[in-house]
């Protein structure tokens, strides 16, 4: 009885280990020797899930199938990066041929590990010049150390959302352009109620949904890594300036504890009760998708503008943080040439890109689509298109271990805003040290 129980306990304790070890069997091949003119079915995984998004992507796939009658596409929606990681490793007949991901931070991991096929030979074969086809920031986040294993499939741009009705009531005539104007407006728009708020001008806490260190730091035009690939957040003055500004905002708006308590009353970020929809906050940083979501939730008073810039960089007003969806071909796909036809259509066919962008209110990802007259003329949407085209707009660079360096920076941000860490420079040096250790481990 005792021995049996011990054995059972040991088996139970190592169940996870068994799964882990047995999962380590993936193999991949980089050759593309299938005939894309023959009848073939490919599998396409993507992460969109809302009905309008699904309709838009299915319409695009249907257009592709009409243009390529021999290639049939099996579409799998609502896929997360974790599922992609597992499928790419496992391979097999059910694994995807074409994969798209919302997490641009993972491109470094996808490229360096060989999980995604290098697209350079396909681009070269079809005489597609990436530099002449895609906007520069989008080209950056879709490659890692010169290896282009993904292409942009629509993009996201981040800007300022503000409540027009509250602006008028507070006597603010235009959205702020510099961060000092922004702070004044945020204070003016804040209405306290006892120990809490009736309305907050802006939620500066790093957990305030999209007000993350990475999104805010883009306004300072920061560079995360030096020429040797070493983390340089302590050397780049933009990071220290961003953290100091955020701390100043936290103090000006009532202090960390009070703000955190108020933050806990917010509804889901992607639900109808987002604080920008309910009026709990009067200004927020968010992506272009918020426009449609706010209207769907019955909030029609939101105005949009580029997010303000530091006072000493006022001339760069109009820039913002950029991100987007990426698409690539699984390296273990046996139908790479057929898969490439779909990737090429989705990412470079101007009509396909424009109609998809209009349908889901994302930023188009080709230079031709950005200039297309068929693009939605909605002024709010156009604001984000301008941010995406601004040469000073930036993104977070791809890294060999995905977004681990951003998680480290975020963790420091949480510790600093809560007062747990007092010494900013020492903290940033600690971030550099940790990021470098994590990257050394991943190599």
């Amino acid at each position: 009885m005792t021995r049996l129980t011990k054995a059972a306990a040991a088996v139970a304790a190592t169940a996870a280990i068994a799964l882990l070890a047995s999962a380590c069997t993936g193999q991949n091949s980089s050759s593309a020797n299938d005939d894309a003119t023959k009848d073939v079915t490919i599998t396409f995984w993507h992460g969109w899930s809302a009905p309008n998004e699904l309709k838009a992507i299915n319409d695009n796939v249907a257009r592709f199938e009409r243009a390529h009658p021999n290639i049939h596409v099996k579409v799998q929606a609502n896929i997360t990066d974790d599922k992609i990681n597992q499928a790419l490793r496992a391979g097999g007949s059910q694994a995807p041929d074409v994969v798209s991901s919302f997490t641009t931070d993972n491109v470094g991991k996808f490229c360096s590990s060989g999980a995604f096929t290098d697209l350079a030979p396909f681009l070269s074969r079809d005489r597609i010049d990436p530099a002449a086809t895609f906007p520069k920031p989008m080209l950056e986040y879709t490659q890692y150390q010169g290896k282009r294993c993904t292409l942009p499939l629509l993009g996201d741009a981040y800007g300022l959302y503000y409540n027009k009705k509250e602006f008028a009531a507070a006597g603010i005539s235009a959205p702020p352009k510099t961060l000092s104007e922004f702070q004044q407006d945020a204070v003016k728009l804040t209405k306290t109620s006892g120990n809490s708020y009736r309305q907050l001008g802006f939620m500066p806490d790093f957990h305030g949904y999209e007000s993350t260190p990475g999104h805010l730091a883009a306004q300072w035009g920061v560079k995360y890594f030096d020429a040797n690939g070493k983390s340089q957040v302590a050397q780049d003055p933009g990071f220290a300036a961003m953290f100091s500004w955020q701390q100043q905002m936290v103090k000006a708006l009532g202090g960390f504890d009070k703000l955190e308590k108020y933050r806990n009353t917010f509804g889901d970020e992607f639900g109808a009760k987002n604080p920008l929809h309910t009026g709990q906050v009067a200004m927020g940083i968010d992506g272009e998708w918020r426009l449609g979501m706010a209207r769907d939730a019955g909030m029609n008073d939101l105005g949009v503008a580029p997010f303000p810039v530091p006072d000493d960089q006022a001339s760069t007003y109009g820039k913002g943080y950029l991100s987007g969806t990426v698409i690539g071909i699984a390296s273990n796909s046996a139908r790479k040439n057929a898969a490439w036809e779909l990737v090429k259509f989705m990412t470079t066919d101007t009509d396909a890109v424009v109609s998809f962008a209009n349908a889901i209110h994302n930023v188009p990802s080709t230079l031709a689509a950005l200039k297309s007259p068929k693009l939605d003329p909605d002024p709010g949407f156009r604001t984000f298109i301008d941010i995406a085209q601004n040469p000073a707009s930036t993104t977070t660079p791809a890294s060999i271990n995905g977004g681990a360096y951003q998680v480290t920076l975020q963790d420091f941000g949480y510790a600093y805003e809560s007062g747990k860490v007092k010494d900013l420079q020492a903290g940033l040096r600690g971030v550099d040290s940790q990021v470098d250790k994590d990257i050394a481990q991943a190599r």
């Binding site: 009885m1 005792t2 129980t5 011990k6 054995a7 306990a9 040991a10 088996v11 139970a12 304790a13 190592t14 169940a15 996870a16 280990i17 068994a18 882990l20 070890a21 047995s22 380590c24 991949n28 992460g47 997360t80 990066d81 974790d82 990681n85 490793r89 919302f102 931070d105 991991k109 590990s113 060989g114 999980a115 957990h207 993350t212 990475g214 955190e260 308590k261 933050r263 806990n264 917010f266 889901d268 970020e269 992607f270 991100s323 969806t325 390296s331 271990n401 977004g403 681990a404 951003q406 998680v407 480290t408 975020q410 963790d411 510790a415 940790q434 250790k437 994590d438 481990q441 991943a442």
Partner: protein, 316 residues
């Protein structure tokens, strides 16, 4: 001095040994394939750099050094896991036994109470955790509303590093149905005559519990503790979901997921195995954490079995 064994006897012994081996072979095959092989593989991978795509390359103790010295999430996760093993397992056993005792004493409506206490155990862990995060939301949750109404300071629950593990413990106690049923069966199995004899000797309720009930059900208590320790070592879904939902970052919009919100207080070792192995493609380091879990589970189990005489009751 040796004595020669008769060839017939030797053949008979060999035949018996082969027969034994044949009968044992299904277990040997299963144990080797699902325990020994994964364990040895995990040990091997822990000394390699392996991302699941390229072949593993030998890196010596690099992964071990990284996990123990340079990986900032390891020690908080280990501390949290040990906290949960000590506090949550203890409270679950005490609470499960207490509820079992109460229900076995109830004369009327025992079925109703039994069902009421058992039902939460059947709730899917993700749904139950999300419901608890909603109920315990410090700003909008009904629990803090009630606490505030009666003048009790309302905790931050899943948003406060000091309260997140107690909140997980409350969730675990809510789903106590499994232990309650096991303890009820054990309590009903204690011979009535022992209680009668103790009563004749003047034993009160505490002494009857201490000297009659507890010795009789001690193997079941040990079973509950050992399985509780192993389950808690594998505690993954509830802290992960609680941390994600409470942080407001659901993780499918391209945002970076913050492990262990708030302030790493809900981080457990199995989450690290997943984070390293399946999100960072670093199987080597993930295998180190898996081995730490294995060693800890074995050590706790061995310690408990040795100290309490295993699963043998006082009678045996």
């Amino acid at each position: 001095m040796s004595t020669a064994v008769h060839p017939l006897l030797r053949a008979k012994r060999r035949k018996a040994a082969l027969r034994t081996l044949a009968f044992l072979s299904p277990w040997i095959v299963g144990f080797s394939a699902f325990f020994v092989y994964p364990l040895l593989s995990t040990l091997y991978f822990s000394f390699t750099h392996y991302d699941g795509f390229a072949a593993p390359t030998w890196t010596g103790g690099k992964n071990w050094t990284y996990v123990f010295r340079d990986y900032p999430l390891f020690w908080p996760a280990l501390r949290n896991t040990l906290w949960l093993v000590v506090v949550m397992v203890t409270l679950r056993v005490v609470f499960g036994l207490g509820i079992g005792l109460l229900i076995t004493k109830i004369k009327t409506g025992a079925g109703l109470f039994r069902t009421a206490f058992y039902l939460p155990y059947l709730a899917p862990p993700v749904a139950a955790t999300m419901a608890f995060v909603f109920l315990l939301n410090p700003g909008t949750g009904p629990v803090n509303h009630v606490l505030g109404g009666i003048g009790i300071p309302a905790p931050g629950w899943f948003t406060d590093p000091g309260w997140s593990k107690p909140a997980l413990t409350v969730l675990a106690l809510w789903g106590i149905g499994d232990l309650m049923v096991i303890f009820m069966a054990a309590l009903l199995d204690v011979p009535r005559e022992q209680y009668e004899a103790a009563e004749l000797d003047g034993a009160g309720p505490w002494h009857r519990f201490r000297y009659v009930t507890l010795p009789n059900i001690s193997p079941i208590v040990m079973f509950a503790v050992v399985t509780g320790v192993i389950q808690t070592m594998q505690y993954y879904t509830q802290p992960l979901v609680a941390g994600k939902v409470a942080s407001g970052i659901i993780g499918n919009s391209g945002q970076q997921f913050e492990p262990g919100y708030p302030d790493r207080s809900t981080l457990t070792l199995p989450q690290l195995v997943y984070n390293l192995g399946f999100q960072r493609f670093d199987y080597g380091a993930a295998c180190v954490v898996a081995l730490v879990l294995f060693v800890l589970a074995m050590a706790f189990t061995a310690l408990l079995m040795r100290r309490r005489g295993g699963l043998i009751s006082a009678e045996d």
